[in-house]
Every structure is written in C-alpha cells, then in structure tokens.
Symmetry: C2
Subunit: 173 residues, 2 copies
DNA sequence: CGAAACCAGTTTCGAAATTGACTATTTGTT
DNA sequence: AACAAATAGTCAATTTCGAAACTGGTTTCG
C-alpha cells in the first residue's frame, strides 16, 4: 500500500473522494483550476529561477519592465492594470529600478498627480537581452504543443477569463 | 490616439512589437504563457478574496488543508510536493493551523525525523463547509466552457506540464 | 470662486514565502 | 560496528507584496 502520490494521482484521488464520499458536484471545475494553477506555478517558477533570479531581478520586476518596455511611456496606474499588480506594488517595485537606472520616472505634464514611466536606454538594452533568453525558455515550454493546440489553449483560457470578467469579480486594485 | 490598453490589447501590441521591431521568433509562446498566468492569477485572487479571506484563511493555508484532507495522513514532505510549496512554507503554515485545532501533527512511528499530518474533526468539518462554497465559485468560473472544452483544457495543460517535467526543470524544493 | 468629493501615487505595516543554516535521525559503506 | 552522506523538519533572515492610511492635485457644482 505504498502511496508516493504525485500531482496527477492526487487530482485523481481528490476527484474520487470529493464525488463518492462527500457528494460534491463540480469535480471537473476543481480539476480544471488545480491544473491551471499548477501549470502557471511551474512555468513562472521555472522562468524566474532560470532567467531572472540569476540576473538579480524578481519575476515581478520583470513583468513591470516588460509592460513599460512594450506599452511605451505609461502611468503607474496603467502598469498596475496590465500586470495585474496593485498600484502599491508598482510603486514599491519602481524604486530600485529607478535607482538602478533602468526606469525613468517623470512628472506628467497634464496631470500634476501623475507620473510617466519609461525605460532608460540601459533599461531597453537589458530588456532586449533578457527577453532573448526568456523567450527561448518560453518556447521550451510551449513547443510540446502544436501551433494549433496553442491557439486553442489561448482561446479557451480567454473564454474562461472574459466570461467571468463581466460578473462580480473584482480585479486587484 | 487614446490608448487605455487592457490586457488583450496589450497582448496584441506586444506581439506586434516583439515581432516587427525586435524580430523575436516565439510570440505565440509569449501569448500562451501571458494568458496562462493571467488566468491563474485572476482565478486565484478571486477565490482567495471571495471565499478564504473572509473566513480568515490564506490561499496557501487552504491549499495545505486541502491536500491533507483528501490525501489522508501525510508527511510534510509529501504535502509540499502536492501543493508545490517549499517544505519550509509547509512548516510555517502548519503552526497556526495546529494552534487553531484544525491540524494534527504526530511523530512518525517508523521514521523519527518525520511527522504525520492529519485533520482534526474540526478541520474536516471546516473543509467540508469551506469547500462547498469554494467549489460553487470554481464552478462559476468554469461554466463558461462546455464540459468537452474543459477536458481539452486540462489535456492541453497536462501536456504542457509533463513534457517539460522530464527535462531540466527543477521543482520547488 | 471655493468647498467637497474624487483620484493618483506613496508610505507604512503586517502577512507570507523562500533561501540557507542547523539539529536530529536514518541509510549506506567499509 | 563506526562513520560519512543523505534526508526530514525547523528556524532565522530576507524579500516581496498588498491593504489601508496618507499626501497632494484635480474636478464638480453650488
């Protein structure tokens, strides 16, 4: 009766017990979301450990730099929305990045309360260099799927997200 | 030229700039993983905020109780593996849960270094009650997809996870 | 115009997770 | 049998992040 459960046999066990012993109705929902979270955790942890930590950056710092890089000069509020972080998190992350000379932070001309974030030249250079490695490792994850499978995956996840976005879900402030 | 980007238009913008301005090759990989992480974040944040925080438990505490509940008496090491947390995280999480009388922690009979975790009667009762609400809210997320779509989603995510699991990925220690 | 409501960003503080060191036990080797 | 290496769990230090309070600028409307 040796167990030595792994993730997949645990999901199976959970399914069985939730249904037969406790009579819960939505095991497939549990299975979908367990798998979703596990996949996201694995990928994120791998990219952070393999690409970003060795260069002295956190996963969150990368995400912030990434949106500022590609979405041009940006208010912190928009950066928070695009990354899914809170405004406070953006504000805290900014400090060391500005100090390291990757991020520029200039007062907004039209709104004295606000601020515009952009990458410095050094920041752009670092993102180009980091993203090369990041993107290769991303590819290492997704190449297990055909292109069509990847498109289906994006479509299904999109459906999951947007269906709920309309209802009572609050996004992170 | 008003922007007001949201997540989807940002993904589109990122795709375009990464391809045309910087010549990166694997935009679809980026799109898949951005969407994956966003979906996972949204779902997790929603469940934590709607179900678990109001009851005074963190998302991580719930995950730990969940695996101990369903995978029976368990060593901390196994609990860490199944939840994807580090052993230290499990050890830290355990303390308040034992103090609150939800978790039992008894020395292992066959290995003096180890320990067996199980739910107390109160712990079991709380999980049954919490999971009722949790599962209903999970269903609220997944019901946007047909049952077949959900099975495809699980299958694709499984493919993503297991293909890479064999290679040089280190799981969290 | 001026007060009140509102909104943007920051700061502070607390919760939680990871890394690495440490203790105790077990396993493997000679 | 003895000792080295590996393993389990815990603890301490550091990092990260968010909630809530706070500061200051902007808009609304009498």
């Amino acid at each position: 009766m040796e167990e030595e459960l792994d993730f997949w046999s645990f999901v199976e066990l959970a399914n069985r017990r939730l249904a037969t012993e406790y009579g819960f109705r939505h095991q497939l929902a549990t299975e979908v979301l367990l798998t979703l979270n596990r996949a996201s955790d694995l990928v994120t942890y791998d990219l952070e450990a393999a690409v970003h930590r060795p260069r002295g950056r956190s996963w969150s710092a990368f995400r912030l730099l990434f949106v500022v890089w590609l979405a041009g000069p940006l208010e912190p509020k928009s950066a928070a929305r695009l990354t899914g972080m809170s405004r406070a998190a953006v504000s805290n992350l900014m400090k060391p990045l500005v100090a390291d000379g990757l991020l520029d932070r200039v007062p907004d001309e039209h709104d004295g309360r606000s601020v515009q974030l952009s990458l410095t030249e050094a920041g752009r250079a670092e993102m180009v260099s980091v993203f090369r490695e990041h993107n290769e490792r991303e590819f290492g994850w997704t190449e297990a799927l055909t292109e069509e499978e990847q498109r289906i995956l994006v479509m299904l996840l999109g459906k999951l997200i947007t269906a709920r976005a309309g209802s009572d879900t609050r996004s992170r402030r």
